[in-house]
Each structure stands twice: as structure tokens, then as C-alpha cells.
Symmetry: C2
Subunit: 307 residues, 2 copies
């Protein structure tokens, strides 16, 4: 269960008077997600998601909320933060920083085909173009700096084999940084469960709370490692081809980006192997139910290293 902070209907109805969204009609906790407390909120005006931030530093929240607002007003189907009557996106509820965002329609899909991979590739490219005019800056919070911190935290918990793999990959990545690739705000967590589909079209991208500024191409690699897996953890050529072709139809890759692809795929695998190891060995209270198996991304990393 990922809802840490309970919210009562009467309390929420009173809190909603800070907004111009009408009266509360229904409140339902959302069990998915491991970082925040989330609720579906239905009012006389519409459908929203209420998020109470349990982990993120308050100083970073404006980056995420303003990024979603920026992308939404560029036509990207992402949750749009609702401003309160004081014209602020960030409120407090139950002593926690809290925000109300629009709820998108659609459902996530478990087994994407080429068509769905093309949809997500095109949307990712549109998101990257729209993000270029976003002014705020936050370094990717799960980027190379964090990899090294996480690796140090994890040291006591890893087998000799795991430690060797981790050290070797960190050394490889340190030798392959790309300061000249196009950078900008990236979602950095656009897995299948963070995309919604409706009638075969992508209708939403959700959960921007791992976003930051990084190589745009890294975002594509994060996607590919989840959307395009074959049964042996390799990239299935048809789906990976569809994702990349649709991306490039909107934002063509530079030669330097193309050359960096294998390294990006390894970086994307490393990042999720590390965070899943971290969640597994050093869980925060209340989040165990949704901890993912670290072995999945270890296998993906080994597969990318071998290819």
C-alpha cells in the first residue's frame, strides 16, 4: 500500500475551497506508485489526482509542477497542475506539500506492439521539443552523481559478483559522458505504466516526479529498455525500430546521439538496477509491497553490455 497519509472526505472538501474546482463528490486512494500519497478526486467540476509529497524536497517541487504546466500548455497530454485561488500550484494538506492535477483518461498497456511503441516515440519527441522553452533547471536526480552515492550505500549488501559488475559499469559510464548531446527536461521514467492509451492512441504521460535535465536521448533509452524488450531481455528490432523512427520523424537524432545509443541503453539499465537494489536493500517504511525485483534490470544491463 503506497498511501502513507490518510485524507478524510470532510477535510478534503474544506481544502478544495482553496480552488475553483467545485465540491468534492468522491475520493479514492491510488495504490500504485511508491513515492507519494495519491488519490483520485472527483468534484462537481471534473476528475483530478491529489498528490501529497512524501519524499521529494519541497525546493524541487516547483520544477516538477511548472514542468507539467509548461508541457500541458504546449498540448502534451500530461497531468496539468491546478492553480489555487492564490494562483499557486503548491499547497499544503495534512502538513505535507500537496498538489491537485488533472486526471487523464486511458489505461496503460502491458504488451505494446509496434503501433504503441511508435505512439510513445512520437510523443516523447514532441515532449522534448516542447520542453526546450522550459526555463527552470534541475539536474536529473537519478543521474551519474546519484549512481555513485547509491553504489556507496549499497556496498554492504552486494555480492562480490554484483559489486564487480557495478564497479565496472560505473567506470565504463564515467569514461563515456556526452556533454555535447542535446539536453533538456526529460521524463526519465516513461515505462509502460506511466503512459495511458485510449482507442489505440496515447492519451497521457503521467508521473513526472523523476524528471530532470539530462540528455534527451537518455529518455529514449529508458523507454526502449521497457517498451521494446524481447523474451531474452534484448531489444526487439521491430518495436525498437518503430519507437526510434517515430521519434526521429519529430526530432531527428544527431550523428553523435546515434553513436551514443549503446552507452545510453546501458546507462538507463544501470540507473534502474541501482534504484531497485536501493529500494530492495534500503526500503523506506510502507513501500515494500511495490518494490520491484532488482534482477530484472541487472539482466537487462548484462544483456546491453554483451551486445
Amino acid at each position: 500500500m503506497s498511501v502513507y497519509t490518510p485524507v478524510a472526505e470532510a477535510e478534503l472538501d474544506a481544502w478544495l475551497r482553496n480552488y475553483s474546482v467545485g465540491r468534492l463528490q468522491a475520493l479514492e486512494p491510488i495504490k500504485a506508485g511508491i513515492e507519494n500519497s495519491n488519490y483520485f478526486v472527483t468534484t462537481s467540476q471534473g476528475r483530478y489526482v491529489l498528490t501529497l509529497f512524501e519524499r521529494l524536497p519541497a525546493s524541487e517541487l516547483p520544477f516538477y509542477l511548472d514542468l507539467m504546466a509548461h508541457l500541458a500548455r504546449h498540448g502534451i497530454p500530461c497531468p496539468a497542475p491546478i492553480a489555487d485561488l492564490a494562483d499557486q500550484y503548491l499547497q499544503r494538506l495534512h502538513g505535507k506539500p500537496a498538489a491537485l492535477v488533472t486526471r487523464l483518461s486511458g489505461t496503460s498497456i502491458e504488451r505494446p506492439g509496434e503501433r504503441e511503441c511508435a505512439e510513445v516515440g512520437a510523443l516523447l519527441a514532441r515532449m522534448h521539443l516542447a520542453g526546450r522553452s522550459y526555463g527552470a533547471y534541475l539536474e536529473n536526480p537519478r543521474g551519474p552523481k546519484w549512481w555513485r552515492l547509491a553504489a556507496a550505500d549499497l556496498k554492504p549488501f552486494l555480492s562480490g559478483e554484483e559489486s564487480a559488475l557495478l564497479e565496472d559499469e560505473l567506470a565504463f559510464q564515467a569514461q563515456h559522458r556526452f556533454p555535447d548531446l542535446p539536453r533538456g527536461p526529460v521524463h526519465a521514467d516513461l515505462f509502460r505504466d506511466n503512459a495511458l492509451f485510449e482507442e489505440g492512441r496515447i492519451s497521457g504521460v503521467i508521473d513526472f516526479y523523476f524528471a530532470g535535465v539530462d540528455c534527451l536521448h537518455y529518455d529514449v533509452a529508458v523507454c526502449a529498455n521497457d517498451w521494446c524488450l524481447d523474451a531474452n531481455f534484448g531489444l526487439e528490432p521491430a518495436r525498437a525500430g518503430a519507437l526510434l523512427a517515430a521519434y526521429e520523424a519529430v526530432r531527428p537524432l544527431t550523428p553523435a546521439e546515434r553513436a551514443a545509443w549503446p552507452v545510453m541503453l546501458r546507462a538507463a539499465a544501470l540507473r534502474f538496477w541501482l534504484s531497485r537494489l536501493h529500494d530492495f536493500h534500503l526500503p523506506r517504511p510502507g513501500m515494500l509491497v511495490h518494490a520491484h525485483d532488482p534482477a530484472h534490470f541487472r539482466t537487462i544491463l548484462e544483456c546491453r553490455r554483451a551486445s
Copy 2:
């Protein structure tokens, strides 16, 4: 036919690359509306309305577009302008100022009942609350100053009886101004055809191009004169009561506002009688098909004066 400026599909598809909304799939002129050229635009991303501004001064357009953006991010279901890749709402197309806004779902209703009047009343109040934090200022472009200008233009075309009625009402209104009533951005044209309904709920308010800053209560009077008419042009008590009660549940009226209600209803009738006379006697080329009969609001004005 209200589309003055023709737009070709190839031209629009190229123009849309200024945005991150995907490729053009369909383009359809909108025949309603008498002030701008409007098109329904469907892209691989979603459904939009393209507006080419034919009449409004370019300097005033940011007030309207930023107001819609402000209200949309407060959760008001109004068209949300889409920012282009340079982060601007206002573009140019075919030499005209142009903007792309979201297309809302729903249809307008011709014969509202108490429930629909309550829906529009509550939404109007939420819009007024959300508008309070809007920073830009534009005087209601169809306010008292414009009444006098329009009356002067119309003088040669009016019968003696019409002139007498107009002069008398202008004199009455000049004696009854309310500088102390709550003011803010008002829609100022929220007739039935500018509201969309879906499954019995109000799903959209459209056409903000007569908006400006004025008494909030005036906006309610404009609504009531259209939504709550009985067969004799009076206000039907059940519908007017539903509209006002729903409005007051969100934003209670002050005693001064309550006292000003009969004057507001007359002001709202006068404004539309004048603009319809103006469109009738001094039409712009191409707009005749949609010119409304001025007699309708003359009768409403006479009815409000008598009651």
C-alpha cells in the same frame, strides 16, 4: 458564412510544425460566430480550434489568450491556448494574428431547465473567483464608453421612438454606476451558445473575445437575460432562482450587488440591443448571415424597464 480567411490543409500542416501537437489529420471551417475565422483542427495529438482574428486589435489579444490560459489552469473548462515552440500563444497565419486552443467536448443546449441554469451559475461564480488572481486589465470593450460611441454611430438609423428609448436608458444608466461593486474579468457574453454540456453537466465555456474587466454581477445579468427568459421576455423565477442560488453558493452576493440587480439586467439588455443594432445597420462585410434581430433585446430592455 463567418469564415473570412481561407486556410488550406498543406499550409496548416506546415504551420502546425511551430507547435508540439503532431501532424494535421482534419480541418473543418466553423460557421458559427461572427467575429473571427474559426476552424476545427484535428491532429495526431488531439482536437483543437484555430482562430484567425479578423476584428480584435492585436494589442488586446494577449488579454484574452492569457485570461483563457489563467482560467484553464485554475480548472475552469474553457479553451486553453496552446503555446508554440517559442512559448507564445499568439502566432500569425495568412498575415492575420492566429491562435490554437483546445477544443472542448459537449454541445450547447437551446432550452435550459433549472438544472442547467444552476450549472452555469455555479461555473460563472467559480470563474469569477479564479479570475481574481488574473493580473492583466482590459476595460469591458462593450461597456458604458462603447454604449455612447455606438449610440452616436446609430443616430441616423434609429426611429424617433428608438432614439428616445436609447437616450432615456443611457441617462438612467449614467445615474446608476456602481464603482464599489466587486469587479474582475467577466466573460460578458455567456449566452446558451457559448456553454457546452455533456451528460447533464457543463463541460465548457467558450468564446472569450468579449471579455473584459467589469462588475462581476453584470456577468450574471448577461447570463440571466438569455438563460432564464420566459415566453414574455421576463425572467422565469424558477430558472433565475436556480442560477442565482448556485452562483451564491460559490460566491455570495453583497447587499449592494443585490440592490443593483434591476439596473444590471437593464445594462445587460442595453448592451446587446446596441450591438445588434450596430451589426444590423452598420454591418462589416461577410457577417450579415449571422446578424441577430435587434428587436429581441429591445423587447427585453423594455420588459426590464417596466418591472
